[in-house]
Amino acid sequence: MSLLTVIYALLFYAATALLAGGLAYKIWVYARTPQPLKIPTTPAPTTRLGVAVRMVKEVTVFESLFKSNKWIWLFGWVFHLCLLVELLWHLRYFTEPVWFFVPLLHWFIVFTGFGMLAGLAGLWARRFLVDRVRYISGPSDHLMLALLVGIAASGLTMKYLVHTDVVALKAFFLGLLYFSWQPLPADPVLLAHLALVSILMMVFPVSKLLHAPGVFFSPTRNQVDNPRERRWTAGWSAEIDNSKIGRPG
């Protein structure tokens, strides 16, 4: 077993633990924190089903962003869609037999790497070209884009220029899953790709990537607009007791 394999094996265990543990903690915090008042951005759905529809539209077609700015929407949506397809496509390295729908993605996978890059390039260009967005961009915003561009670029490099031994790679990841470690191919591009991905996993729960779980907990989007029909209380508002007020005698 090479030192490299050991390092990467441990790296991925650590990254997975931090991602899963960190996200679980954050989700627990969001779920546990009360929302004392009703604050949906109206017009808002008046039923739970309506809220579910609003949320599905928000996370699949980025409805609010579409209303807001067509360029950000285009770049952001293309990037996220391509990222999703790539993530699903990468399941083939972690599942045996490969889940049924994964091979169907090979029609799309021709575009998605470039799609990710194009989307990221558009978003990054805005950080330089649009003065308002330049003003609000901090070092971490640029680093996050650099990280994602690095992941996409190293992936595309392996796909089209410097192939890696995908059979051995799959054996490595299945080995991690079943605690029977297998050697990792020592290709520099692959090592870079994996290192960047593990960094992304580790920073996820302590960075703005928390927008992913956050959107589901956003009260302006997930609350039902029915404050008159149903009395809402939570947190400090649940401690209000009006029973002593105003009753004659």
Binding site: T33, Q35, I136, K208, F217, R221, G246
Partner: protein
Amino acid sequence: MANFETPALREYPVIPLVQEGTMAHSRPFVAKPDIQASVGFPGELVENWEQKAVVKLGELVSQSRALQVFLDSCVKCGACTDKCHYYLGTSDPKNMPVARQDLLRSVYRRYYTFAGKYFPKLVGARDMTKDVLDEWYTYFHQCSQCRRCSVFCPYGIDTAEISMAARDVMDHVGMGQKYSNEIIGKLHKIGNNLGLPEPALRDTLEGLEEDVKDATGVDVKFPVDMKGAEVLLITPSADFFAEPHIDGLIGYAKVFHAAGISWTLSSYASEAANFSMFIGSHDNLHKVAVRIRQAALDLGVKRIVVGECGHAWRVAYSFWNTLIGPFDFLDQNYPVPQHICEFTYDLIQRGALTLDKTANDDKVVTFHDSCNVARASRMGNMPGGQFVIPREIIKACVNNFYDMPADTIGESTFCCGGGGGLLTDDLVELRVKGALPRMQALQQVVDEHGVNYLAAICAICKSQFTKVLPYYKHPMDMIGSVHGLVSNAIVLNAKQ
């Protein structure tokens, strides 16, 4: 006249280029110790205020899922950067919603997040210092909490929530805003924002009865503290005194009269406004609102109807049931509370009012959706009823109605520029500049359709427009109440 230039209207709306610091000088008067005491806050900057501010901030975040999620989730995509009327009117980048949030987010990050504790430079985290506090005071008093940014944010981040939290933190360390806090203090003491005591209120209302009698020959009553009335009307106290608000009040009274529904005002709860929302103070929010529950019980009414006021309708519609409910002692056949527009619209639908549109033929009308009504409440039983119902009332009362451009009304409506506790003379430059997007849209319907009447259903909007319309070369009396139009059109005793 203040020392600034009114922004020029363009042929088309323009997103301005960033100009740093253009509004760094704008800050409202700080509340004096006696005012602070009247709302339960320390009178001046407390010892150890840095630490206390940080602790208070942590406490607020732990009590609010909204803050918890909003402070973590922003990705700096820039979608909100051109959505705030104050940015559009001032070009100051700290008036971009994301930048305004970051004033507070940077402090939250520094003390409460891993990245901010260990990599502050990377994520723009800052220590709580006097400079930061001053910046908060300056720019969190340039947010009218209109929620326009929250419509366009992909995660629904609402800068209003953040500016309320910032103001609450500032109040807790002794740096309150004079305008809002003085008004809340007056309400606690007397029962309304104006500090209008009961005898003066009765006087005013008697005067109104005479005026209406003179004008129409009909005995329209303006009852106060009438036990056993069907409806308790809770309306902004500006309706008792200010123009054009008072025309709205006359309109409500005529509607009640025509419908034959007994109603009353309360001298104890003579205010719909609740400025405690603007300063994010839960205790004051409850304390102000609970007077209404008390009044409703004391007077034995069956229904509560709320007059034309934007943030008051948000508090009433969205918060009252939570704050001062349950309303099991009121008639459940009607919504609790009910907006005066819902009330009037319902009567129009049932054919209970006779309206003569020609009485308003001198007017070409447009309607300004007030932000808190548009984006923080509802009317009727379908989403968006808050846009339909006031317009239907107007159309039932006038022959000439034209909407402003679609991206400036409805959920995208632009704030009047004076909401959120900013309707004070010490912020007049901000108010004039912040009104630019609305004035731009108004100018378009003035040019295209000859609009000469801007109808609104918010006391703050009405006062704000009265002040800023002249800066944009419109007459100040161009602004009016929706129920002012109803008042003109309604035919009293038509069935006799």
